[in-house]
Symmetry: C2
Subunit: 341 residues, 2 copies
DNA sequence: CTGAAAGCGCTTACAG
DNA sequence: CTGAAAGCGCTTACAG
């Protein structure tokens, strides 16, 4: 079932069929209608592969995600996909599970498929040179969430430093001076967020205390563990900002196990504002970087790059916005101090 | 940069290059090595599109997911992708957001791309005839999670009725007789789960009370709302089984807002056992259907179907297993009754 | 073991 | 406005 069959059915040449299928206005409308009718009748389906081979173009865009289990990335992906779909592209999704090996494999596949572009959240430990490598393949690339060195590449992410600074400053403003930092694996994002934490402390004239920083996995389990460690400290710490919402959820769970409740006995801030944050127990106060919007911006950047391969470098940095729900509320620090552990 | 360039570089014909690239043993190893060396030197990259066009085969498998924001589906997807990747396939992922229109569009794209197979969680309201339609395209299909009528198609899902029955029976065994059912949008899965709820009640000689069933969205927000509605009932209800974990998380949140805690003041059961359930506040007791394993089984079924298009119908129904963490624990029903609302 | 030739299903100048 | 012809980069019988 090819264009030739349709041509025969409609009594035209295959060029005519091709033109009609592309919506060209070179063809008289009666002829076009006859062709469309024939295609419909025969149940013809376009062979995109053949078309793309000939035209040397592609309408698929590769998206590589490092951790789908984290709702943050799932939300980014959904935004990205929505935008790409609207633009008529198809997404070839690949999941790397933080494995560099898988990432390389996946990138090769996308190259073999002649992806029209690639959007990727690089795996931790990705060499900064990767942006150049992909560029050398002639495939437009947008890096998401995690920066990849100081190179010259399109990027969509968030102002991590500013966000954590705001969260920390908020906690300070409500009376806390000993504030923990929980979760986060080493990488550019952790560096940036810790940076924000430190600068908020500095601005308030509070000395940075490395013993209050607990690095772990940026997962629920990691948040749970690090909160347990934090709670073991004496004198007790009553406030913390988390690397991300996922860690905060784990922290909420650890607090609950001790009979403590964020928003009453403890002040806790997340980061990301994933959808789940609105209905955690208690609802999480966090830093909103609008994940799905981030994905949409990444898509827009990539599409623009495809249009204009040599235009200036593009960048989207979500401006963080505090959203205060319940986990940060509490009795005043003085009250908590009086109440004791 | 094609096979012809490599052929020239290695002083062989392009057929030879093709054979070498396919790992054929028809070629003398010295020649093969020379070819591989030339390819490496020139930075040759295989044009999969051309190869597939000629061979009339494909190594991409379409995966259509209805709701990526639900971690359950994200986990299914991860399992599926892992297995497909191991088998050398590439996944073309599409997200339908419960839109029938998008589902049709996405399916057409997969057809145009000549997907080697399709794995899909159908959107609510998908006509049962879809399985036949896809079959008529000659594309192997495995349906996941939601059944599509009584047709003859490969399926991977879970025994929903049995799972909810176990959860409900567990609550009954711990002394409850008035048990709510929360969340779930109408569709085959809800029917099956409600069925399990009813049969557990029936087995215990408890009359079904429609006023205890609150249907809503199978989301956190839905769980939150329906729990609020349940809590408004008089006399108070102290136990509920949820449509899924997501609804249970929302329910946990609603309880918390009232100063209630599941596992102490209320007995709550989820369904799915998503990763998050281990670290919710409190950790959720639920019905484990091993989501990522479900995805792996779906992949295996699809791969088997691709191998043997005419073999017997395949089916995987995850056997549910109760996992009791904390949300179901509580003072005995008698104690709760005595304590009052 | 290796090469010459046809063909997968399209698109795109080029004539007419 | 429409058709004949070449070609996208591969694979695969078929000779030799």
């Amino acid at each position: 079932m090819t264009i030739l069959d349709v041509a025969a059915e409609a009594n035209v040449s295959k060029s005519t069929v091709s033109l009609v299928l592309q919506g060209s206005d070179l063809i008289r409308s009666e002829t076009a209608e006859r062709v469309r009718e024939a295609a419909r009748k025969l149940g013809y389906v376009y062979n995109r592969r053949a078309g793309e081979l000939r035209r040397k173009s592609s309408n698929t865009i590769g998206v590589v995600i490092n951790d789908l289990m984290n709702p943050f990335f799932a939300e980014v992906l959904v935004g990205l996909e929505r935008r790409l779909d609207d633009a008529g592209y198809t997404v070839l999704m690949a999941h790397t599970s933080e494995s560099l090996e898988r990432q390389e494999k996946v990138l090769l596949t996308m190259r073999e498929q002649h992806a029209a572009g690639i959007a990727m959240c690089p795996v931790l430990g990705t060499p900064a040179s990767l942006t150049r490598t992909v560029k050398s393949w002639g495939i437009p690339l947008v890096v998401m969430v995690r920066t990849l060195g100081r190179g010259h590449y399109d990027f969509a992410g968030s102002d991590n430093s500013l966000g954590v600074q705001q969260a920390t400053a908020h906690l300070i403003a409500t009376g806390h001076r000993r504030i923990g930092f929980l979760g986060g694996r080493s990488g550019p994002v952790l560096d940036q967020r810790l940076q924000g934490y430190k600068s908020a402390l500095a601005q308030a004239g509070i000395a940075f205390d490395a013993r209050l920083v607990f690095v772990g996995n940026p997962t629920r389990a990691g948040g749970h563990e690090t909160m347990q460690a934090l709670l073991a400290l004496r004198p007790p710490v009553k406030a913390a900002v988390c690397y991300n919402d996922l860690a905060a959820f784990g922290a909420l769970s650890a607090l609950g196990e001790r009979g403590l409740r964020a928003g009453k006995d403890f002040a806790l801030m997340g980061f990301d504002n994933v959808l789940d944050a609105a209905h955690s127990n208690p609802p999480l106060s966090t830093v909103d970087i609008r994940p799905s919007e981030l994905g949409e911006h990444a898509a827009a950047i990539l599409l623009a790059r495809i249009e204009a391969p040599n235009s200036a470098r593009q960048q989207y940095l979500a401006t963080p916005k505090l959203v205060l729900r319940q986990s940060d509320r509490q009795r005043s620090a003085a009250e908590i101090e009086r109440a004791g552990p």
